[in-house]
Amino acid sequence: MKFYTKQILSLILFSMISFAQPVETEHVEAELISEVSSIRAGTPFWVALRLDHEEEWHTYWRNDGDAGLATKIEWNLPEGFEAGEIHWPYPKKIIISGLANYGYENEVLLLAEITPPEKLPENEIKIEATAKWLVCRVDCIPGSADLEMTLPVKNNIPKVNNEWTTKFANAREKLPITSTGWNFEASLNDTIVTLHIQRPEWSNQKFNEVVFFPYETGIFINAGIQNFSTIKSGLYTLEIPLDRLRIKDPEILKGILISEKGWCGEGSEKSMEFNVPVGMKSSMTQIPASNNDGLILALVFAFVGGIILNLMPCVLPVLSIKILGFVQQAGKDKTKIIKHGGAFTAGVLFSFWILAGLLLVLRAGGEQLGWGFQLQSPTFIVILSIFLFLFALSLFGVFEIGTSLSSLGSKVEKGNGNGSAFLSGVAATVLATPCTAPFMGSALGFAITQPPFVTMSIFTSLAIGMAFPYLLLSIFPQWLKFLPKPGNWMESLKQFMGFLLIATIIWLAWVLSIQAGADALIILFSILLFSAIAAWIYGRWGNVAKSGRTRLIALVISLAILLPSAIWGLNLINQIPQYTSSNSSSSAGLNWQKFSPEIVNKLRNEGKHVFVDFTAAWCLTCKVNEKVALDTEEVINKFDELNVAAVKADWTNRDDAITEALAEYGRNSVPLYVLYNADSSVEPKFLPEILTPGIVIEALENLN
């Protein structure tokens, strides 16, 4: 009999606990809630102390302000469990008869992350906590509650508890974002701390009201007026009055800044965490002196990056063309070869300058741009495809290039191929742009944020680096003797090179198909068909064997076929709406999620490490990395094992959020691989731009 009573009693007790009943206290309802409905060994999860206040009553933030007490949670967890600190949503400034408190009204969730031990039997665990607070209206009442909840332990991935999803999401929205990319400077005078706030490059948001909520208490006049003013576009000051009876002078200004306009655009997070040492004088109002060391380093990196560019997959076809060029030159005299080398260098330089100029002009126009941006435009891809296709046809012998393009013709013939050397320099550059060699990313990232002359210098350095091996070969042609002697094989090689170009066109067609779909492909191939016809006509009747009149007519007819078909096709393609980038996230292996800064924060808050793959369909390096490293079974298993979320930022089409995210890391090109630790206090790690399964696995293992 006694035995049964005990069982029934525990049953009743148990059913109460598993629903985690809220505890009613004076003016506050308190409850412990969990974001997940079950937990798994080793997988951190989020819980919250939910406080629901009676109307007019409030409890306090981590800094209570002039009076009050911050809410405390004392955890009583099962063996091996660990609870993190409270993550505080930003508070409201509550002013009562001239005294200001930082607190919460209505409902608030104070979040905390709990990490279970690595080994747990499938059972149920009980999480207990004692919450203590001070609840005030005008009068104050200290309150406390012993809270508990039980959660089942299961072996599968924890499922979200739908009951609380929205509340957790709302609470997270109110957690401060980090101030990456923002610059702060604080100076102290007798009664005021002046905070200079500088907006990051990527933001063009205007701010007209910003309030500082300090983490440290007893230093500032909480109810005091903080003057916010705009010095110039993107540079602001906030004056925070100091309490005469302060505990100490602030050494480090720590806290959150609240802007009713979101920090990352309208409707985004309103709270941003920052900390900055307080100095005596401010220098931010002056233009910071440019850092020479940084510039020299960037120039060196750009130069080395330029050399390495030659080895990148997308330059390979052009590389072969250039090698062919040198084979042809090998027999000629020295000065001519040097001239060729010079012309090639000039071609590379010229196109880099054009690109840099374009970048500067567009940047000035406020465009969100990045390296490889040309390939985000279907128009560019189509034109490049036509160019390469005609080049290939010429290599196949359908028509002769040197004697054709009449506008360039005279120069090309007269300069004994200097013109074509120049053009191949241009071609090499155009093709190289989507491939970012390891060094180039950072050099360009540096360049894009610099004044125009620095940007130009970096692009110049990059160009010289890229042309360097060829310049070297043309100055020391004796080194060319290692290349085979000219002969009939050259014609065969030349024709074979054509296939490499065709392969490149296949890649471009694939990029286009991702951007604009299958219809665009048909249009592209139609244009190529017309281009082929035009090339054939020109080759058949426009060659040197025909009379001048025939040649002219052939040229006119082929242009009359080529140009209208290209224009017509481009028009059609541009009418096709561009696909959203999610459509291109097609790799099967990892469970990719579409990138947004919010999802990264959300996943991290859920206790997951996050791997972000900044990629694009037109980035061959990225695709190679995905194939050889990311989509391998061992890597996929590792992701699963360590509970790392995979997020793909697909930059195939222009996407401002991704451009901004890249800019945050000082980059404007892909690939970029960022590994965020679930623990937000750990700085994100970058993986190299060329991945192997080993590199990825090692990085993942180093997370814990």
Binding site: D66, A67, G68, L69, I95, I96, S97, G98, L99, A100, N101, K132, L134, C136, V138, D139, C140, I141, P142, T217, G218, I221, A223, G224, I225, D243, R244, L245, R246, I247, K248
Partner: protein, 202 residues
């Protein structure tokens, strides 16, 4: 319409509070002078106590933090100890009429008797002027003034901000530390601390 009204109210309030907090009290400077009536109708001026250490204790008997230190006898014991050493101990109540902690003289005296308080005087500052001059934010909020009239200490009564009586034992009492150091001719370690408690009901 309502919004504009609300907004101007907020702006007014902010402007007002800025004026309010043009406080004068500063550490190591002369403490602001005042003249206030006590709960027996007798007037006291700070200048009357030149030559003696003076403790100011902001008070509101209804506040749980004041209760913490009175129900535990912590405050009374301090008062007893230091008034015994010729220190002047003044409680100041800045609760506005109708607000919490504002009582008539009879009620005050009864409560003082119930609590067995050892005050020199319980001063009534209904206008809140003295409280604002001292920047008093909470009850309790403690101030120590030396015989020359210089403010030596401002802040909380001790180092553990809570409403729990149990915490008193573990806390460092800043008021006695300041008084002991000053009387012994030593440097005061903590001259300012964050006061904790209920807000002063101006």
């Amino acid at each position: 319409m309502l919004n504009i009204k609300n907004m101007s109210a907020v702006i007014l309030l902010l402007a007002f509070s800025a004026v309010l907090f043009a406080q004068k009290a500063e550490i190591d400077k002369t403490a602001p002078g005042f003249t206030l009536k006590d709960s027996n109708g007798k007037e006291h001026s700070l200048s009357d106590f030149k030559g003696k250490y003076v403790v100011l204790e902001w008070i509101n008997f209804e506040c749980p933090f004041v209760k913490k230190h009175y129900n535990s006898k912590n405050m009374q014991n301090l008062q007893k100890e230091y008034t015994g050493k010729d220190v002047v101990w003044l409680a100041v109540c800045s609760s506005a009429p109708g607000k919490q902690g504002n009582f008539d003289n009879a009620e005050i005296n009864e409560r003082l008797k119930d609590h067995d308080a050892n005050l020199t005087a319980y001063l009534i500052d209904e206008s809140g002027d003295v409280g604002r001059a001292y920047g008093a934010k909470t009850t309790p909020h403690m101030y120590v003034i030396n015989p020359e009239g210089t403010l030596l200490y401002a802040g909380g009564i001790d180092s553990i901000p809570s409403a729990d009586i149990d915490d008193i034992e573990d806390a460092t009492n800043y008021v006695s530390a300041a008084l002991d150091a000053a009387m012994g001719g030593k440097e005061i370690a903590t001259k300012v601390s964050k006061p904790y408690g209920c807000s002063v009901k101006y």
